[in-house]
Amino acid sequence: MSPKAGTRQGWGFVAPALLWTAAFFVAPFALMVWLSLSRLEGRTVVPGPGLDNYIRFFTEPSLLRGLVVSLEITAVVTVVSVALAYPLAAIIAFRVPRRWQRVVLVLAILPFWTSYVVRSYAWLLVLGQGGAVNAALMGLGITEAPLQLSATRFATVTGFVHFFVMLLTLTIYANLVQLSPNYARAAADLGAGRVATFVHVILPLTLPGVVTGAFLTFVLCMGDYITPQILGGNRELTLPQLIMMQLGRRGDFPMASAMAVILMAVVSLAYLACARWLRVERI
């Protein structure tokens, strides 16, 4: 086969997937950006280009607040999830006997495979007024009346942390088992204690995996609608909840599009911030 014919054949193979992505991902995205520059007057979309929606977003406290709430929740969730998942991944990788590791890992991420809706609902059962946690607390005589645990930010964060601890345990574990034990051995030979070995050798070597997982956590957490909607109550709304509200109440596609673009921009900024350590092909 001549090189030219080969290239043509190669394009033939790639074309269907490329066309699909162009038609149903790139084009909708372009349309969304264009819509975000238009305006809704009454029920009709007035074509722009103008920055009205963006100006309104950053000047209306109730809208801007959604971005702040989302960022706060996401920051807490990312930090707590990494802090909980790292020791778990390390224990599975270094303490659990090799032939059991696969089984333990599959069990550790089993609830990962429940759907988003069902997982959040399950937390509602656990944290609700008559739920398992309150029943246990009152049964043990720790509290007299049920605590308000659901319909709070605490509940949203718990639901998120639950999901992302599983995700991060998986990515950090994959990183840890790739490390040769020779690194730790060399550090010990050179006189490093357990803590020094961890801080100066193991942690830096696994940082790319941690950052990749943390970035994934950030992206998925910022964009999620279900968990705060089911667990968070209505006292404060996240950015995705506000986007859904624009769609539902007024059918304000331009405003919803502008907020989606802002969400994308925040995620892109996070990507740039940790691009140094990120290897997207590993995701």
């Binding site: 054949q9 909708p28 399950a122 008559g130 279900i226 995620v267």
Partner: protein, 260 residues
């Protein structure tokens, strides 16, 4: 000191497992509740809520719709991803790095944004919402996944085998069908099942892009509006069971590959 350290590790492992498995445990346990509320104290076990759910025509229609959308969209995503992976692994295309980036891109975007974009597109084009409009969205999110898995699985040994088959006179279609696909069988299966679970569990795209016929997660969502009930536990447990079975199949397939 070392013993205390060891013990602490096992305690942490146990606590972490408790945290991770608690909600699913509560969900499944109270699906067997013999009462109107899925909260302690536990009474039962009873299968009445499962009978109730299995007799519910709307939930069962949602289940059927979900199976249909998940299998069709996984198959389309696998087909497109397979061809693209073959094209990029076999041929040196100008701008190959950029092509890979474009194909992977949807993976880094929130489902909500993908759904919103498609909804705007459908509105503009005057396309009515149905199961298929949601299925298109599920192919968009699963195509990068299938492509990435298959592309990573295509090593030099595959190209050598393909060349040998071609030298022996096999046509292009025969090479793909008799050499490439069988050699990639574990990766193909794993990709299909993963895509299936992602579509099966997906909510926001299905919620925004369907109207009269909806998928099971959307049906469960409307069930939740009327508050907590053992019915939701029962259907949630069933959905979970399907996903776990699918994941176990993937695990077995992957395990066989590593043993070989």
């Amino acid at each position: 000191m070392t013993r205390a350290w060891h013990l602490l590790g096992w305690v942490y492992l146990a606590l972490a497992f408790g945290f991770i498995l608690l909600p699913v445990g509560v969900l499944v346990l109270f699906s067997f509740q013999d009462g109107r509320l899925p909260v302690p104290p536990f009474r039962g076990p009873s299968l009445r809520w499962y009978a109730d759910v299995l007799a519910d025509r709307r939930l069962m229609a949602g289940l059927g719709n979900s199976l249909l959308v998940a299998s069709v969209s996984a198959t389309v995503a696998l087909g497109l991803g397979f061809l693209a992976a073959v094209g990029l692994a076999r041929h040196r295309l100008p701008g190959a790095a950029l092509l890979r980036l474009v194909l992977i891109a949807p993976m880094t975007v929130s489902y909500l944004i993908i759904a919103l974009g498609l909804l705007s597109l459908y509105n503009r084009a005057g396309v009515g919402l149905s199961l298929w409009t949601a299925g298109v969205g599920h192919v968009v999110i699963n195509l990068p996944l299938c492509f990435a898995i298959l592309y990573a699985a295509m090593g030099p040994h595959l190209r050598a085998a393909e060349r040998a088959a071609r030298d022996l006179g096999a046509g292009e279609a025969a090479v793909l069908w008799h050499v490439t696909a069988p050699m990639l069988a574990p990766a193909l299966l794993a990709a299909w099942f993963l895509a299936f679970t992602f579509s099966w569990d997906e909510f926001i795209i299905a919620f925004l892009l369907t109207r009269f016929d909806v998928t099971l997660p959307v049906e469960i969502w409307s069930l939740l509006r009327s508050g907590i009930s053992p019915r939701a536990n029962a259907i949630g447990s069933l959905v979970f069971l399907v996903s776990v079975v699918v994941v176990m199949v993937v695990q077995l397939v992957a395990l066989r590959r590593t043993r070989r």
